[in-house]
Symmetry: C2
Subunit: 179 residues, 2 copies
């Protein structure tokens, strides 16, 4: 169940703790793995507020507050849904940063999206909301594991100002607050 903590988890936590910032996580296909990686680090409670795994689509809407029309129109595997999840968990758990994962771990395609399609998002305290689309190979476990690294890497890039313009979209307050 646990075979080493991703380096990204330790690094992101160290930066958060050094700045007195907190994080919350909204997970779909990763189903708890992002949070498990963060909380594997001793002292994680100094920065980790908690998480919501919204495995069922209606939980994304009812608990995280993702727009129902958006979910109905595009399905759960979507960049704006990832943004809405990150924003929603940040508000629900009163954290400085909100992370989100949504995608298709397989074995079957979902909502017309092929296996390996994943969106990760990070909503920050300054109103920005970054998202990355991934196209991953491999089986269910590999796709989930790589998604964990991707969302923690996105957080690290956002924290350290390494976000690339090519694969990261920033949106100001309203863009993130009204997906």
């Amino acid at each position: 169940m646990s075979a080493g903590v991703p380096r990204e988890a330790e690094r992101a936590l160290a930066v958060l703790v050094s700045r007195g910032r907190t994080v919350a996580v909204a997970e779909s296909l990763t189903g708890g793995l992002v949070t498990a990686a963060l909380t594997a680090v001793p002292g994680a409670s100094r920065a980790v507020r908690g998480a919501v795994t919204a495995y069922a689509t209606d939980v994304k809407r009812e608990v995280l507050g993702v727009d129902g029309g958006l979910l109905a129109a595009r399905g759960a595997v979507d960049a704006d849904v990832a943004r809405g999840m990150a924003r929603g968990v940040r508000a629900l758990l009163a954290a400085d940063w909100g992370l989100a994962t949504t995608g298709v771990a397989g074995p079957d395609p979902q909502d017309g999206k092929p296996v390996g399609t994943v969106f990760v998002a990070a909503a920050g305290p300054d109103g920005t909301c970054a998202v990355r689309e991934l196209a991953l190979d491999g089986g269910r476990e590999a796709i989930r594991t790589e998604s964990v690294r991707a969302v923690l890497g996105l957080l690290l890039d956002e924290l350290t100002g390494n976000a690339g313009a090519k694969d990261t979209e920033h949106k100001g307050g309203n863009g993130c607050l009204q997906p």
Copy 2:
């Protein structure tokens, strides 16, 4: 991050799916690992509604609805807190079964409880709410991993009627609903 799914996760999911029942998880010290174990099984979405990792104590109160007086009086590592978390996540995520873990993974004691003190709970659709207290040895990872197996084992026992009177307490509707 993932090195095999506990047998208890596969067995519990198989029983839930065969009965058309759903499950939700409230995690504290396990921080997502219970949910990660369940969602590692292909087809988990047929039974897994989602989860809340309530790492911060106030998240247990504000999101899961655990009684604030109880938390203030006894701290977060307590049998009735585990019951309240299981009950709370079952209601929040509209699941048939609610599971919960709370305990001390270390490295330091918490709320006067030694490292390795863990409570796991399972709230069922018939108003019962079972809880077990564990006294675990080993490091942080071992304590978290064993807690995952324990709560899934408790669920399996509740599903299959193997609950032992010695280490499992049942409470009727009000006992579970009013921790």
